[in-house]
């Protein structure tokens, strides 16, 4: 087993949840209703919980005595491997729900496969997470439907969000070297297996939501190789602020 690849693989999964939770956390107290604030916080909490499990495991694999917080807060931007989708800004509630939905559909398919991983820790994390992620997907999917099939304005806004965020979906299925090795070992999820299902599921719901399925064949990628959008630097400068400013302390 290639430890470095396993470590890289776990980190890339964890980073998705961390950065998405960070984005959701920014919204707390600023959403359109109290109920959505509560639900958004719930999703963020679930994601952070998953993230902590992944980082703890990754730190153990790495064996350098690092903590979950070292991994979460003390890497350089180029070392974060989350997909570009999750770092996109909270432009408006339609974006937030669109981003969430496009991730959740992937995430649930992913978790269902990770459940079968030969790595028992990963399988256990997946087992614990599946229920949470199913709930996320139902929540975001319902909102995409409400907004898509709500008023004319909400339909337009939701469509705009989907059109823009669509460009980040293909990257979800990219398999960097670490992934490939780990797939071969039966540890990692072969995302290509469910790529088609993903687009089918997404398209079905979009149609139900009275939205057009984007036809663009141009996709943007980079996050999985650590080349992020310009939004990422600002996410990190806030997120890392305390750990960078007060190094080596406990909180």
């Amino acid at each position: 087993m290639n430890k470095k690849h396993l470590f890289d693989y776990i980190i890339s999964i964890a980073d998705n949840s961390l950065i998405l939770a960070q984005r959701l956390g920014e919204l707390c107290g600023h959403g359109p209703t109290l109920e959505t604030d509560i639900a958004g916080t719930n999703i963020a909490l679930d994601l952070i919980g998953q993230t902590r499990n992944y980082y703890q495991y990754a730190a153990q694999i790495q064996g350098e005595g690092k903590t979950e917080d070292d991994l979460a807060f003390l890497r350089l931007e180029r070392e974060y491997k989350n997909v570009l989708l999750v770092e996109q800004p909270n432009e408006h509630f339609g974006y937030v729900m669109g981003r969430q939905f496009l991730f959740d559909v992937y995430h649930l398919l992913f978790m269902n496969e990770l459940l079968k991983s030969k790595d028992e820790t990963l399988a256990a994390i997946a087992k614990k997470g599946i229920k949470e992620v199913s709930y996320h997907k139902r929540f975001s999917g319902d909102w995409v439907k409400r907004l898509g099939d709500g008023t004319e304005e909400s339909n337009q806004k939701m469509q705009e969000a989907i059109d823009e965020l669509w460009a980040y979906t293909d990257e979800l299925f990219d398999q960097p070297e670490a992934d490939k090795t780990m797939i071969a070992e039966g540890v990692a999820v072969d995302t290509l297996k469910f790529k088609e299902t993903y687009y089918e599921e997404v398209s079905t719901l979009l149609k139900e939501a009275n939205l057009q399925v984007p036809e663009s064949k141009y996709f943007i990628r980079g996050g999985k190789t650590g080349v992020h959008s310009e939004f990422m630097g600002y996410i990190l400068s806030d997120m890392q602020y305390m750990q960078r400013t007060y190094p080596n302390m406990e909180w």
Binding site: G25, C28, G31, L34, I48, K145, G150, D238
Partner: protein
């Protein structure tokens, strides 16, 4: 109804309260009771909602994953409290939109302490420890207040608040047992939050309105000054445990009365903040009003969608 009849009803009503019976939304109640409850419960609800903001300010910068999760959960609880308090208000025949409108127009108040900025991480500790501490002192007696929905909401709120208070104390404790920089941060937070926390328990009894009636309705069971004294007496020993100094040179144990004497509160500052001119009043209101206005299209869409679904159901049924 004749005045006579109303007077009878009022007497029966007051007698029920005196017997510690709960008043429920469908029961007859005097108009003033209804209004006073709407005012106090909504003020409480607004405080929860506005209170999410100063702490929300540190979610993105919490220093560890564990603390980030705890802070998210805490802010979420506050949203939850807001939610049941608004619901309790709604049982008295006012809509949530009207309540928001009162908040946004400045007609309704919220706890003025949330108009101070959270400038360091230690403020997350100080708010939990002091602000939630003072809130509990205010709220515990309300678990036995006369209006049923409010009393029941308070039971749940108090349970969670006391968890938050312990969590805040634990943040402070960690800082006080950390590096000198961390301890400084904790002391600095105490210095900034101490006096506003004392103010949070309301103006001195001499200046306080509504008190007598509220006592009768068990909306208030102790005076502001009594609550303040209780808060001080409870908190000073906790500061000692932390090794922190209360920023009041006049603070001194008074053996005779069995409680602490303390310095004079700057009531000018209190009124400045209450009247809308505190350090963060504008920021808080912009955040709330902004969230509401920017969310209008979302709420409209949800409503439109629900109506469509209802119409479809009907169509299918016919």
């Amino acid at each position: 109804m004749s005045n006579e009849q109303i007077k009878n009803l009022e007497e029966i009503f007051e007698a029920r309260i005196a017997r510690d019976e709960k008043i429920e939304p469908k029961d007859w109640m005097p108009e003033k009771y209804r209004k006073t409850h709407i005012r106090q419960m909504s003020q409480h609800a607004h405080s929860e909602i506005v209170g999410m903001l100063p702490e929300g300010n540190w979610i993105s910068r919490a220093p560890s994953l564990r603390r980030k999760a705890a802070l998210l959960a805490k802010v979420q609880d506050e949203a939850g409290h807001g939610l049941y308090l608004y619901s309790a208000c709604e049982t008295l025949g006012i809509s949530r939109d009207e309540l928001y409108e009162q908040l946004h127009s400045g007609k309704a108040k919220y706890s003025s302490i949330f108009n101070y900025p959270t400038v360091t991480w230690a403020d997350m500790g100080a708010i939990g420890w002091l602000v939630d501490g003072a809130a509990i002192i205010n709220q515990v007696p309300l678990c036995n207040t006369s209006f049923g929905p409010y009393a029941r909401a308070m039971v749940r709120v108090c349970k969670e608040e006391s968890f938050h208070q312990r969590q805040g104390f634990e943040i402070m404790h960690k800082l006080c047992n950390g590096t000198p920089e961390q301890k400084d941060m904790a002391q600095d937070a105490l210095n900034r939050w101490w006096w506003p926390s004392l103010m949070m328990l309301g103006p001195t009894d001499a200046e306080s309105i509504h008190t007598e009636q509220s006592m009768k309705w068990k909306l208030k069971r102790k005076s502001n000054d009594e609550l303040r004294q209780q808060f001080i007496d409870q908190t000073v020993p906790q500061a000692d445990v932390l090794g922190l100094t209360i920023p009041d040179k006049d603070l001194k144990w008074n053996e005779e009365k069995g409680s602490y004497d303390f310095g004079e509160i700057d009531w000018d500052e209190f009124w400045q903040v209450v009247k809308g001119h505190g350090p963060s009043n504008k920021k808080r209101m912009k955040a709330r009003v902004g969230a509401w206005e920017e969310g209008a299209w979302v709420r409209d869409a949800a409503m439109a969608h629900a109506e469509k679904k209802e119409a479809n159901k009907l169509k299918k049924a016919i």
